[in-house]
Point group: C2
Chain length 224, copies 2
DNA sequence: TACTTGTAGATTGTCGACAATTAATTGCCA
DNA sequence: TGGCAATTAATTGTCGACAATCTACAAGTA
């Protein structure tokens, strides 16, 4: 089970709903176009419909679900066009963050250590004897960790927020592509290049490394 | 009164709340840091608290209000740092849109006509004998119209959404700057340069014109 | 006076129920 | 049998009420 069994306990139930539905999407229980029944979620979580509706509203604003008034809430369907749009916006924002990091000297030596540690973990996972599907999931988590760390180093809360939403949408779209567990090792080691050029303050090569790294999203899309 | 007295009637009451609070912000009734009482809004609009909460959630996601759990909802306070961040993200996205328009030949001759008509209106307003405050408000509306038209021509729904939110935040921040009604004529004619370079497909000059045009946001910020 | 503690008021978070609307089913008729 | 109309069921939108929590004020003590 993917759901972090530990604590689903927060300030308000709304965030519980958000996490719950996100987990159900990533675990494949909810698929694109599925109808999310408010009462069903409420019953499942043992709460009333009010916080469920709030959670759905939040997910709507993140583009994860689509609300059709008086019809219902549905898991967002991404067309190829949509994915290209999301992909390009991510690239635009993350390129911009790389510029900030380099131009404003935001990265310290210890930060590179942190990044390298994350990538080392990724490589270890890629080489492990785990089942391929599990490896892909675990590496995806580390990938998220890697990029989020970089985003946060920019010090721009808004950019982090935007990119977090975008990242999830990309993950969603990739779920329906079974051929996405291929070159896990390459995906992992890709990150070393980003670290290297970031350290050398070589903006152009750094951007190119990023572009090559995340381009499998785009390739995956065009396969469909 | 700014509130469009006509129709506050939509699919659901939630959007009524959103519009209502946005109007109250732009009209200066709500100021940065103000506490937005759910029950007060509900009473004022003659509805219950449920749709009010939904509306507030939407505004929170747009960065317009800030929700402190179990404390309340407050009109977002923008620091100088915040504004710089918002400003830079707008520039990044709108630059990107200009590139799309030029590279992908998205602008037709009739589109330029539309833009010129909008700017003509702006100049007319700037030269009118209206009170300065009203002129500023009217020109701001036309400015929004101008840029939104350009955004939409990119065909990227997500970029339009992001920029719309950002635009409102910039307007909010400017409200507290009384010295913002100075060179209305220059602000209006600025747009002709953008049209000109967009027509000539001169990306660099177009970007520069945009930057110069919207830089008064930034200058305004540093005045404080 | 300054500080802590306890209480009262106000506000948010959650709930269950009802109204309005949509979708599905059934029954009727050609 | 096929298509249309009326009824039924299911789902969302909204409401008022209650519970949990926070804030402000007041009383009491050192």
């Amino acid at each position: 089970m993917l759901i972090s069994s530990s604590t689903y306990q927060r300030d308000n139930l709304c965030s519980v709903v958000v996490d719950y539905i996100k987990e159900l999407i990533l675990s494949g229980t909810y698929r694109a176009g599925d109808h999310v029944l408010e009462s069903e979620v409420a019953l499942k979580l043992g709460i009333s419909r009010a916080p469920v509706r709030e959670g759905l509203k939040e997910l709507e604003k993140e583009g994860i679900v689509t609300v059709l008034p008086r019809k219902g809430t549905f898991i967002t369907k991404f067309t190829l066009e949509d994915m290209k749009e999301v992909f390009d916006i991510r690239l635009l924002l993350e390129d911009n963050i790389l510029e900030i990091l380099i131009n404003e000297n935001k990265m310290m030596e210890e930060d590179f250590d942190t990044l390298e540690k994350i990538v080392n973990d990724m490589v270890k996972i890629a080489n492990s004897k785990e089942e391929n599907m599990n490896k892909a999931i675990m590496i995806n988590m580390k990938d998220m960790e890697f990029h989020k760390f970089i985003w946060q180093k920019s010090g721009s809360r808004r950019r982090v927020e935007l990119l977090s939403g975008i990242f999830f949408q990309l993950r969603m779209a990739m779920l329906y592509d079974t051929n996405r567990t291929g070159d896990l090792f390459a995906t992992a080691t890709d990150h070393y290049a980003i670290i290297k050029y970031l350290r050398n303050k070589d903006i152009d090569k750094c951007k190119r490394a990023l572009r090559e790294h995340i381009s499998f999203y785009k390739e995956g899309m065009s396969q469909k």
